[in-house]
Subunit: 364 residues, 2 copies
């Protein structure tokens, strides 16, 4: 309800605003989330930081204040309106229902609820409306591979109707948390200043322990992300298909993904081949993407302008470029999209969903 | 002709064998070629090494002997039967016809003749027969992106009939010669041991001059390979389409490629989505690939077995794995292929074509 007379609502104190809990506040995406909460329009009252017992008592900065981290337990959700979870799936599976039972709307970034028909899968730029229908009190966001491309793809779909999708990814190591980043940095230290990379296995021998990956990640690419699933697919590849179908509301969409890890610290890239119901054009695609919230168009290759992780990292939007129409199929478009996997690919999407829920409360 | 009576031909002296000229002997692929000529069954008589004026007089080892490099000029082709060219396209365009006019069969690895209808485009495992019809006395090989996938793809096409192709590449820096390798190694030295890769532009600032690429190649991927062509495509992306069509004899094939540079020294990878005329199966694909000359199957992801550049580099075959059938389309297959861009992607393919031509002579 708008105030009587249509006057703008007067600024309200934080005491009147919803209480937020950040669960997994000390993790990679949690750290980025605290930064985002400090930068974005402040819609929150109390912000409660929650982590494992091990991290309890640490103090973290959010909105310029030091806040003490609480150990995860039932009581931390008392009085919480929104709880953003960035924890492993098994932790989310156990604790999200606990938080919801105490009255919080849970925004979960893990894979625990992404395929649950009673949990909406939400990307605010694409299907914000879906967040309102949450029978379990839980809203999930897709995984970072899907999130890298879905904002740009959703805008194109809204115009032309997506029919088929083939994607190959170039995924950064910070998706694997600190272990991934440490593996890449340690391996780079082992190969920098050497002549390695030209004989079979020379990089493998130099780096020794390959950490979270089944092959070296320095001077290499690893075509395997997620865990083994049926028929040679990985969980992550199947998730890109399922999540895209859910977010776009296209349960029969033909979609395949090949998920590949590359030696980039943060920011995923996705090479997208998309076939639509209608004829496409590059000019119109540029116009659609330029007008799409959360998308930056970077597409003048002759001038050296195309999206790369090194430029997109640390920024909120996804960067889209290399837009081309198939010479053989006027309904097929190729594009290349980069997005920070810790921002739009995780923390930012959570923050946006949380703000949607907070806005509902303000409407009441 | 086989010798009368069917007795095996007696070993012949090198004097009876064809004379080979290697033009561009001091380059990256030329160096690999000299190694291959030393390793492979020796079909050559004299091997003449040719390079630019600047390199003339240097001595290089081939077949265990030191051979002096000659400066490129008309007379170096006198008495040459086969001339393998690994030089820039403009050098090949000028000198290949000169060599052919002097009676040599030219095997060219540049882009100068790949679209010439009077020059066959040959990958011996796929279309060896095409090498015999060479009106200009020149045989070309495809570029290294195409060569990485075409041997595996050609075998699958022979069984099922290729109908549509969507590929995304992960291309190594040695395709750009020493400048590419030096750029990657120099940039790695600048970023190793740092915390870079998490703020916009931090890698770009640290590496400074990006060398042959329009963006940093350390801790980054660069979705642009080749030079700008029409409608947003790069020359290399369009070449993958044209070369695949020519080698497979499918002038109407629907094909798109996105060519991306990655921080790998040597060995390209290609993520392939291929749709066929017939239904496919993963089991049959494994069987076809395992029986295909020049292909190694490496496909047990649950056991950490999939192709990576670090394992395939320095080896002759292409490595194929991650074979999956689309859950939505029984005629579509995904696979991931790695191939050493200086071996099968350049020098090995030249050596194989040269051997085909030498074998014709032995038949006469």
């Amino acid at each position: 309800m708008t105030p009587a007379g249509g006057f703008p609502r007067a600024p309200i104190g934080r005491a009147d605003r919803p209480t937020l809990a950040v669960v997994g506040a000390t993790g990679a995406a949690g750290t980025v989330l605290l930064g985002l909460l400090s930068e974005r329009a402040d819609v929150w009252g109390e912000i409660r930081l929650v982590a494992s017992e091990r991290s309890a008592g640490r103090k973290l900065a959010v909105r310029g204040e030091e806040v003490e981290v609480l150990a995860l337990g039932e009581e931390v959700f008392d009085g919480v309106d929104v709880a953003m979870f960035d924890v492993p799936a098994e932790v989310a599976a156990r604790w999200a229902p606990v938080a919801a039972a105490r009255g919080a709307v849970v925004v979960d970034n893990s894979g625990a609820f992404r395929t649950d028909p009673d949990v909406p899968l939400v990307v605010p730029e694409v299907n914000a409306h879906a967040a309102r229908n949450r029978p379990r009190g839980i809203v999930a966001g897709p995984g970072c591979a899907t999130l890298t491309m879905i904002v740009a793809l959703g805008a194109l779909h809204a115009e032309w109707g997506l029919e088929e999708l083939v994607v190959s990814t170039y995924q950064a190591v910070s998706e694997s948390g600190r272990r991934g980043v440490e593996a890449l940095r340690g391996q780079l230290a082992a190969v920098a200043g050497t002549e390695l990379g030209v004989h079979p296995g020379d990089v493998r021998r130099a780096v020794g322990d390959t950490g979270p990956y089944a092959a070296p990640i320095a001077l290499n690419v690893v075509p395997f992300s997620g865990t083994p699933a049926e028929d040679g697919w990985t969980t992550e590849e199947l998730a890109v298909r399922e999540e895209t179908r859910r977010v776009l509301g296209l349960p029969g969409l033909r979609a395949t993904a090949t998920c590949v890890r590359v030696p980039v610290v943060t920011t995923h890239s996705v090479s997208v081949h998309a076939r639509f119901e209608s004829e496409v054009s590059v000019g119109k695609a540029h116009e659609i993407l330029a007008n799409a919230p959360g998308v930056v168009v970077c597409d003048d290759p002759a001038a050296g302008e195309f999206p790369t992780p090194a430029d997109a990292v640390g920024t909120d939007p996804v960067w889209a470029g290399r837009v081309r129409r198939s010479p053989d199929d006027p309904r097929a478009l190729e594009l290349f999209v980069c997005g920070d996997n810790l921002r739009k690919g995780a923390a930012l999407n959570m923050a946006q969903i949380g703000e949607l829920v907070a806005a509902e409360r303000a409407e009441d």
